[in-house]
């Protein structure tokens, strides 16, 4: 039988296949913790919607979130759906690229009520992810896990929903910009200004270089078993500094210093100029 000419149907877009991993931004975590702290007295946990985008390689990038009031009892779960839609509409007005990608809840593990909530969210978006943030630190560590659910059915009967954990990337690069020192402690007295920041970065560099020195010394003296990979890394980084003859380097260096000095000079002249101008402008009247 002749095979039919290849009639390739376009493969279903990645949106329909479940996400393979998740990435969470720091602001989402902060939001979750803040809403947990502010939850109404009778609630045990808080739930809310996650907003973000689905990247083409199957990773879900969670960028924003908002909490949704809900009430939970032993066998019933009620979510304020209007609130959820209202907040979503408001958020869409600001940033229309952030869509619903799932939902979060505080507390450890997945409970029975979660399946119902997950079902609600699967009606909103295909393959929502479920993020649990363990605010109670039940295992003595911060556990943040992401799950996707697949339905287990026997024939036609729907038996249960299985929550599978997917890898979670918590690198939080955006938070690093703000500086982890600010986000880590409960109170930071003063935001560091430029020079203090430079100082701390340079100190860190110093420490790193010291460590590398110590490591190389140890290897040479035989105290530590040499690791070829690290050795190659070190030689690569040292070699990445451009090789300039001392004369060329000095010239480059001096040029840059001159440029900077010019700029500082210009800015001080400007400052003097504006203070003179101001005196002239508000000086006694001509008459």
């Amino acid at each position: 039988m002749a095979t039919s000419p290849a009639l390739l149907f376009p493969s279903p877009s990645s949106a329909s296949s479940p996400p393979s991993s998740a990435r969470v931004e720091a602001v989402v975590l902060f939001n979750v913790c803040d809403s947990y702290v502010r939850r109404p007295d009778q609630a045990d946990r808080v739930i809310g919607t996650l907003l973000g985008s689905l990247l083409p390689d199957g990773t879900v990038h969670v960028r924003n979130s908002y909490v949704v009031p809900h009430s939970e009892s032993a066998d019933q779960v009620a979510i304020d759906i209007d609130y959820h839609h209202n907040m979503y509409a408001s958020h869409q007005k600001v940033n229309s690229k952030e869509v619903i990608v799932g939902w979060f809840s505080t507390g450890f593990g997945v409970s029975g009520g979660s399946t119902l909530i997950h079902e609600f969210y699967s009606r909103e978006v295909q393959n929502p992810i479920h993020l649990t943030v363990d605010t109670g630190f039940t295992r003595g560590e911060a556990s943040i896990k992401a799950y996707i659910s697949s339905n287990l059915s026997l024939g036609d009967r729907h038996l249960a929903a299985q929550f599978q954990e997917i890898p979670l990337d918590l690198r939080m690069i955006e938070a690093e910009k703000a500086g982890f020192e600010i986000l880590k402690s409960t109170m930071v007295e003063k935001l560091p200004n430029d020079l203090e920041g430079m100082e701390s970065s340079m100190e860190k560099l110093y420490i790193l270089i010291d460590e590398i020195y110590k490591y190389v010394d140890d290897v040479v003296e035989g105290r530590v078993a040499p690791d070829n990979r690290i050795g190659r890394f070190i030689s690569d980084s040292v070699a990445s500094m451009p090789k300039l003859s001392p004369a060329a380097f000095d010239k480059l260096f001096n040029d840059k210093i001159q440029d900077n000095l010019t700029l500082v000079y210009l800015s001080s002249i400007t400052r003097t100029q504006i203070s003179i101008a101001e005196k002239l402008n508000t000086a006694a009247q001509v008459l």
Partner: protein, 360 residues
């Protein structure tokens, strides 16, 4: 667990459309009674305390839309000499049409209502905006401040500069207008004389307030756990970058533009003074003529004419141009100079570091 409820206050709307949403009737009269009782001078604002959550949200919103300028609302509590910012929400970018005003107001009311349901302090204490390289001192800022000040006792504006943050500095600033400047502005007293009286110069327009950052214990515990083990962060990479030339170039460009503006302002003033003196001399000449006429008439025995003639156009007072623009431009220039100094200082550090490394 703490349930922080801010003081219930009437809802507020975007600066250009001020209306009072209907707070429950009984509460409103209570509030009015309370507000008339406490008339003592408010303690001066010393520090703005921000939650890490608000900081992150502001950074996220501003960076997402850079280089477009965005704004948002700050929510929090006003406690003694500290203004606490506990949350914030962004405003959508508004197109230039009239219906957007009503939409903006609706959006704001909606967000405040929703946030109140989840126990977020929905007390407006100011707004935040992003800016480009520190050029935020504009007349619109002052007007927005005046609008907000009418309704809120203490409000603050937080300015975030995404381009400076690419240098590794967290460029967040909390600003407020000084009281003396606000009084003058309200009474339209921005003339040379009044300013000299009050000894108000361009430094006194804006007041920068130090920012403290606080985090709840829960979130700081999480952050401590999740902190990456590498001792070097993205922040350090950015600080130790050697190529600051594009940033400096843009700063200088803006500086040059501002100097042009400043010189045009000065020209305006010269023109005004010239007009004023010309008018004065015209008035003198006319007065002389009148006096001579009067003497002639007295000699002829007629009524002397009045020595003033308000209908004559040369007596119309020449309006003095407002000094506000000049002051704002001067403020901008000084902030550019500060930036340049800061970056040049960093550059010196980096260059010497490079030299030391090279010699090794």
């Amino acid at each position: 667990m703490a349930n922080r409820k801010g003081l219930p206050k009437p809802f507020l709307c975007l600066a250009l459309v001020i209306l009072y949403a209907a707070a429950p009737g009984g509460m409103r009269s209570f509030l009015q009674a309370v507000s008339t009782v406490t008339e003592e001078a408010p303690t001066p604002l010393r520090v703005v305390q921000m939650e890490g959550l608000a900081v992150l949200k502001i950074i996220k919103h501003c960076e997402e839309f850079a280089p477009a300028l965005v704004t948002g609302q700050l929510l929090g509590l006003d406690v003694g000499s500290v203004l606490e910012v506990t949350n914030c929400f962004p405003f959508p970018i508004r197109e230039e049409d009239d219906e957007a005003d009503a939409d903006g107001a609706n959006y704001q009311l909606e967000m405040m209502r929703c946030l109140r349901e989840v126990n977020v302090d929905n007390n407006t204490i100011g707004w935040y905006q992003s800016c480009l390289l520190g050029s935020f001192q504009t007349v619109e800022l002052i007007e927005t401040f005046m609008n907000y000040q009418e309704n809120i006792r203490r409000c603050v504006c937080i300015v975030y500069d995404p381009s400076r943050s690419s240098q590794g500095v967290l460029a967040l600033k909390a600003l407020k207008l000084t009281d003396s400047f606000m009084d003058l502005y309200r009474n339209n007293g921005l003339t040379g004389e009044k300013l000299r009286e009050k000894k108000l110069s361009w430094v006194d327009i804006f007041e920068e307030i130090p920012i403290k950052v606080s985090n709840s214990a829960l979130v700081s515990a999480f952050m401590k756990e999740l902190e990456p083990e590498s001792p070097v962060t993205q922040c350090d990479f950015e600080r130790l970058k050697l190529s600051t030339a594009p940033f400096m170039e843009r700063n200088l460009e803006f500086l040059i533009g501002c100097m042009d503006d400043l010189s045009s302002e000065q020209n305006k003033f010269q023109y005004y003074y010239r007009n004023l003196s010309r008018q004065q001399s015209q008035q003198q000449a006319w007065l002389q003529k009148r006096r001579q006429e009067n003497m002639a008439r007295k000699a002829a025995g007629e009524e002397p004419l009045p020595e003033e003639d308000p209908s004559n156009p040369i007596f119309k007072p020449v309006p003095e141009p407002s000094r506000l623009d000049g002051y704002l431009v001067t403020n901008q220039i000084s902030s550019y100079c500060n930036h340049i100094n800061g970056v040049a200082g960093q550059n010196f550090n980096r260059l010497y570091l490079m030299k030391a490394l090279h010699e090794d």
